[in-house]
């Protein structure tokens, strides 16, 4: 069982990101995934949470996630909040949308494994959103699937096509770019 918590803002596609992961895991045939939005009234710009619970076996646990294996920060501004690592397992992973140097980020979460994904840059390169509010969810999903080996490219591509309501080709390009960067990084690390 792998449990991921997403921290984003209303309108950023945080819940869609969790849904893309669920679709990608199903399409890859590697198991199943529940994508769980934090339950409440959604407002544009307000912090939102979503969860993904992934397992090779049928998933029976239907509560929220309190001790995630990974947290994903769609908005780098959350880096200042201690809430983002609340309950994170000791060997848990922090995946953050950021272009800051590795050392700067590592200093922010001492002792944690931190991976920076330049999702904002990738999103803007592909014309997703505006500099003030880039749409980073698909780039994040690309990176996440590669980092955690959740799905192969065809499974992820199909997931994005099914889950993204507009600008499908540009979203696919952003997903692919992030997926390939981090697949190469994962290979190099092995």
């Amino acid at each position: 069982m792998l449990e991921i918590r997403f921290h984003g803002r209303g309108g950023q596609g945080t819940v869609v990101a969790a849904k893309i992961i669920a679709e990608a895991v199903l399409n890859s045939g590697r198991g199943q995934c529940l994508a769980i939005p934090e339950f409440g009234v959604e407002r544009r710009g307000a912090p939102v949470l979503a969860y993904a619970r992934i397992s090779e076996k049928p998933i029976r646990v239907r509560s929220r996630i309190y001790e995630p294996d990974a947290v994903v920060l769609l908005d780098p501004a959350f880096a200042a909040s201690p809430a983002v690592t609340a309950g994170l397992k000791p060997d848990g992973l922090v995946i953050v949308n950021s272009e800051l140097p590795r050392e700067t980020l590592a200093a922010r979460w001492p002792g944690r494994r931190v991976i920076a994904v330049p999702a904002r840059r990738i999103a803007l390169t592909h014309g997703l959103g505006t500099p003030a509010s880039p749409l980073v969810n698909t780039a994040i999903c690309g990176a996440l699937c590669a980092i955690l080996s959740l799905a192969d490219w065809p499974a992820l591509e199909q997931a994005v096509r099914e889950a993204v309501p507009a600008a499908v080709e540009r979203n696919l390009a952003a997903t692919r770019e992030a997926f390939e960067v981090f697949r190469e990084a994962a290979r190099a690390a092995r």
């Binding site: 849904k19 939005p37 339950f39 646990v61 239907r62």
Partner: protein, 382 residues
């Protein structure tokens, strides 16, 4: 085909696969997407029935009362205050013996405002003459909508398919969506009996004297009890055709259990995980989920309980001044009994019910710490 769906979408697809003739609804959190998807399918021509956006839940059910009276297969969905607003019409529909099927998304009632899951809304409609099914997964929601039509049309009573707000309604998970041909093979077209037809005028529901009224009510009870067999049969046939199915109750590791967690809804799924973890510690844990609440499955419940097993009934509902609602019903169904039955009220207004929380409840009941007539109000220590 397996698709990643939220529970609300599974509900709407179930209605579309049932070839509903008339759907009338009014949106309310957390049921909204079930209405939106049906409207979308209707706009695209994938839902061939008539979709009516009503001006209230009371109107929605009134529309279905009329539509079902002229022989239409009908559907609606609602939640919480919307269901409360329908209350009068729920009695009308059941009394008129119309097989309306409704998806009900559990949400707590105000005051104060609350959006989250709580079964008091649907359980408050206990005495209206509607069948009630409580689902544990979104797959079960879709499957139960199809089964509910079959049973409702055979026993001529309406059915409510209930799912937890957000926990099921908004959670995306893989759901196997049957083909239209497979759904048609399971659910035959509706063959309505006495219908309103201008070519052959009749009157229905007119003033009825006490003696006849009494017999009509006796017949509702007779058919409601007959529904127990029909529900079990529909579940078996569904199992044969689709390879998955569910009966009146779902028991899990109960055969030799010392203490059994009793739940309804999605908590029943989490409870199985709690039972496995307790078993891994050598503890004799089991759990049982009531899938059907009306008609109450007394015999099925008794059949899967070992003679001396303690019960810990976990209620996400309560009746002020009494106790959790399943707790009352289960005690009544098992009377007379020397069995220890403990009641726990938990998670009202959407409080999360986790594996750890259920393990704590199980341990409390297993140690005999519960007081017989006084349900414990418990919350997660987190």
């Amino acid at each position: 085909m397996k698709k990643v769906l939220m529970g609300n979408h599974a509900a709407a697809l179930g209605a579309a696969l049932a070839r509903v003739d008339v759907a009338a609804a009014y949106p309310i959190t957390p049921q909204t997407q079930s209405v939106e998807l049906l409207a979308e399918l209707a706009a695209k021509g994938d839902f061939k029935g008539r979709f009516v956006l009503a001006d209230s839940e009371h109107s929605a059910m009134s529309i279905l009362l009329g539509a079902a009276s002229v022989g239409a297969r009908t559907f609606t969905s609602t939640s919480s205050h919307g269901l409360a607003y329908m209350h009068e019409l729920l009695h009308w529909v059941a009394g008129a013996r119309l097989p309306v099927v409704m998806v009900e998304v559990n949400r707590a009632l105000a005051a104060p405002w609350n959006l989250w899951t709580d079964q008091t809304d649907s359980l408050s409609q206990r005495d209206t003459g509607w069948m009630q099914f409580y689902c544990a997964t979104s797959q079960e929601v879709l499957d139960t909508v199809l089964q509910a039509y079959r049973v409702a049309e055979r026993v001529r009573l309406p059915a409510m398919v209930v799912l937890d707000g957000f926990t099921l309604s908004h959670t995306y998970e893989p759901v196997d969506v049957p083909s239209q041909a497979a759904a048609d093979a399971f659910l035959p077209p509706y063959q309505p009996p006495d219908i309103l037809d201008p070519a052959r005028p009749i009157s229905l529901g007119g003033l009825t004297m006490p003696k006849e009224y009494f017999r009509l009510r006796r017949r509702i009870d007779h058919d409601m009890r007959r529904a127990l067999g029909e529900i079990a049969a529909a579940g078996r046939d569904f199992q044969t055709q689709f390879g998955r199915g569910c009966g009146l109750v779902e028991d899990y590791r109960c055969e030799d259990a010392a203490t059994i967690l009793v739940t309804a809804g999605a908590v029943g799924s989490t409870a199985q995980e709690a039972v496995d973890s307790l078993r891994a510690e050598g503890l004799r844990a089991g759990c049982l989920r009531l899938r059907v609440f009306r008609p109450f499955p007394t015999q099925a419940l008794r059949a899967c309980l070992p003679p001396r097993a303690r019960l810990a009934v976990v209620d996400r509902s309560y009746s002020p001044g009494a106790s959790g609602i399943f707790f009352q019903e289960i005690k009544a169904a098992l009377y007379p009994s020397r069995r220890e039955i403990a009641g726990y009220v938990a998670g009202l207004g959407g409080g999360d019910i986790t594996v750890e929380f259920l393990r704590d409840i199980w341990r409390d009941a297993d140690a005999g710490r519960a007081v017989a007539d006084d349900p414990a109000w418990v919350e997660d220590a987190r």
